[in-house]
Each structure stands twice: as structure tokens, then as C-alpha cells.
Symmetry: C2
Subunit: 233 residues, 2 copies
Amino acid sequence: MAARVAVRSGLEGDRALLGRTSTAGRVADILRDRIAEGFFPPGDRLPEDEIGRALGVSRNTLREAFRLLTHERLLVHEMNRGVFVRRLSVEDVVDLFQLRRLLECAAVRTVGSPSPDLGALRDAVKAGRGAARRRGWQDLGTANIRFHQAIGALAGSARIDEIMRGLLAELRLVFHAMADPRRFHEPYLARNVEILGALEAGKGKVAERLLGRYLDDALAQLLDAYSERTKGA
Amino acid sequence: MAARVAVRSGLEGDRALLGRTSTAGRVADILRDRIAEGFFPPGDRLPEDEIGRALGVSRNTLREAFRLLTHERLLVHEMNRGVFVRRLSVEDVVDLFQLRRLLECAAVRTVGSPSPDLGALRDAVKAGRGAARRRGWQDLGTANIRFHQAIGALAGSARIDEIMRGLLAELRLVFHAMADPRRFHEPYLARNVEILGALEAGKGKVAERLLGRYLDDALAQLLDAYSERTKGA
DNA sequence: GCATATTTGTCCGTATGTATA
DNA sequence: CTATACATACGGACAAATATG
């Protein structure tokens, strides 16, 4: 047969280097990034043929990647119509925050006098400060998400870690609805510091209260932006 | 080992008639039932060729079904080695119960004087009583699971419902480690009634305390059985 | 309402790389 | 080291549903 030399946008290069991850997993990684950065905005349809050709993978492999992302709730699958970037409803956002609140508050509540490892939290705060200084509001949002992932990790449960990862990935979809990312992300930096301080002092209950108000405010702000965006869609 | 896969007839017939459900989905349903009833015990390897031939589907289709069940954490996929029925480690069980406790206790804690709809809980208790009378211990376990699913539903969150569904499906895998299903399931029937009574009285805090002890005891009993079963496998 | 083209749903056969006996 | 078995991924075929004119 002739040499099937196809330009594969670096996909097979990765495979040659580290064949640990499957192709579908790598394709899912690429699409996840594209979605997170807003390249594929919520509501967009992702045609199999077009994207498969663009990434140089077969339909079967691409569909497997779609399945992975559908399971992460980043895509929705409509029968015989295709896959779309998920568009969260108001109820979705409320539900998401209810679970966030449950898990995050429970995670900090148990923190006591011998404080557990708070290194990840401090790193996230530091990254947030750097992003704010550089006026990189997207990065600030990322640092914020890292902070809350670290909060969830305080529970010391692999399952909770996984759920938090999923929740925060969905949250990224919501962020794209915010017209002014700076006004949305910047105020929470100081509140993260405050929560971290309470945790360092071993005052889990205080941290829980602060975190609860934090989440209430963030939800209210998001819903406000959502109601503004409620135009025909 | 398992040359005992019964060929479920009607697989191709359904496809010709109504393509509503996918073949892979139906295969997954069959395998899920087989796993839940203990026909495929934890640790069993599911060879593609053998099962595919027994069910009359191609390897690709079967792999699709495997993927669905892997997403549900009922199977584990070892790279280039095959799929196995998941065998939960002691740490897995502890982690599972930690999350269960978090979600279920939070769900009942908020129950107040105007009690929410407790119909599903009452139905589960009734089903459990019937199963105990018939000495159907497997059914009693199912009713028990339904009870706790209904408890999670009190939170009124679609996400929590889904998480609980997954947790309880995994729990089924653990039940198979119990040598005496009666002694494991029967005592909890009375405790379910007790919890339901507290909820009907609007005493969420009481229900939370009862539920917490319930889960502690169940976990201890399971871990006890697990340590006994720690022989080569 | 109808006939069209396009896209997706499903399944198969095969080639290639990898792990294990 | 060779051989076998298996997983991974590809491309293609056909059916069914949707969108389009």
C-alpha cells in the first residue's frame, strides 16, 4: 500500500512519544480545552465529519471522545442530530451550586487545629494574585477554580475529587456567559485569602460560613448575568 | 470459566423492529443484570471473543457496551489486558461510604415540619417488608437500595440523584462479598422504619443521627466480611 | 405535504502495536 | 525469542433520521 502519510496535527507525534493515553482520550483533551477557552461556545454543534477530518481521527474514535465529554456533561447528545456544547439552564446552575456548597462546606467544616496540608490552596491563591497583576482574567478564573478544587480535596476522597473536577469543568461553561470577566473574578481573590486564613487558623466552622456566603454571592451574580442573557436562543 | 453465557434471543429481532435502543445499550443492560445478580462475580474477566460470540454481536459493539459499563464503574479496563468486573478495595468501600454519608445525611438534615414527599421511602419500606416475608434476601437488598436512593432524592437535586444511583450500583458489587445475605440485610429493615418515622415527624436532625449510625454499622459489617475474604483471588 | 441530500446510528473486517505464555 | 491473544484504531458499508428545497 502507499504510505498513508497524513498530516495529523501532532496527534500521532504524541502517540509515538507516550502511548499511555488512548487517542480518544487525547482528542477529548483537545476538545475540552477548546470548550474551556470558549472556542466552541455553548450551543455549538460539533459535526462528526468536519471535526474528525480536522483532527485526523476516524469517526469511531471521535465518537468515543464525544462519549467521554458527554459523560463529563460538557456535551449533550441529541438523537440523530449530533452533539452540541452544553448550554446550562438556570436550573442547572442552581443545582450545580447546591452540590458545590454541600461538598465544599463539608470539606472545610472538619478542618481542625492540626491543619491538614494547605499547600495546594496557597499555590492557587498565589497563582490568582499573579494573574490579577498581569490582568489575565481568564487565568484568574482558572486559579479560582483550582482553589475550589483544592478545597474539595480537603475531604480526602477520590470520589469527591472526581465530582469536583466535573462540577468545575461545567462551571467554565457558565463563565462564558459573563460579559465582564474582571468584575466577576477579581473580588473573589480577597475572599479566597480570607477563607485560607480561617483554615490556617484551624477554624473550620468560620471557613464554612465564609465559603457559604461566597457561593451564595457567586450564584446570585451568575444568575443575574444569565437573566440578562435570556434572549431568544 | 464462563462458558455459561446464555444467548438472549430477540437481540436482532428488536433491532429490526425498532431501533430505539442501541444494540450496545441492550448488551450493556444484559451484562449489568448479570453482574448485579452475581452471575459475573467481581474479579471475573470478560473476554471479548467469548461473550461477543455468545451474545451474537461483533467485538466493536461489545466494546461499546463495555465502555458504557466502565463509565458506570461496574467494569474496569486494564490497558491491553481486557475488562474485568470491578472488585472494590477496602479503600474504595470506605470512600464510597464517606460520600454516601455526606450526601444522605445532608439530604435528611434539612427535612422540617412540612415534610416533603416521603412516598418513595414508604414504598421502599413496604417492598422490603414483603421481601423479608417471602425470605427473598436479594430482593430485600434491592429494596434497601431503593430506600437510600429515595433518601438522596430528598435533596431535590438531579445531580445528587445521579451520583447516588452510581454509588448504590457499586454497592451491589460489595454485597456479593457477604456470605449470609439475610443477616446482612434483615436488621436494617427496622432501622429504615425508624428513620422514616423521624422524617415523618419532621425531625431531620434525629433522622440524620440515626442514619449516621446506620451507615457506620453497615460499613463496619462490610469491612469485617471483606477482611475475612482476604484470601488469594 | 413531498422528495431530496446530508448527517448520524450501527456494525463489520482488518491492520498494527503490545503484553503475556 | 517466538508465538499467541488481545486491544486499539481505521475505513467503509448500509439503515434511519433530519434538514432543505
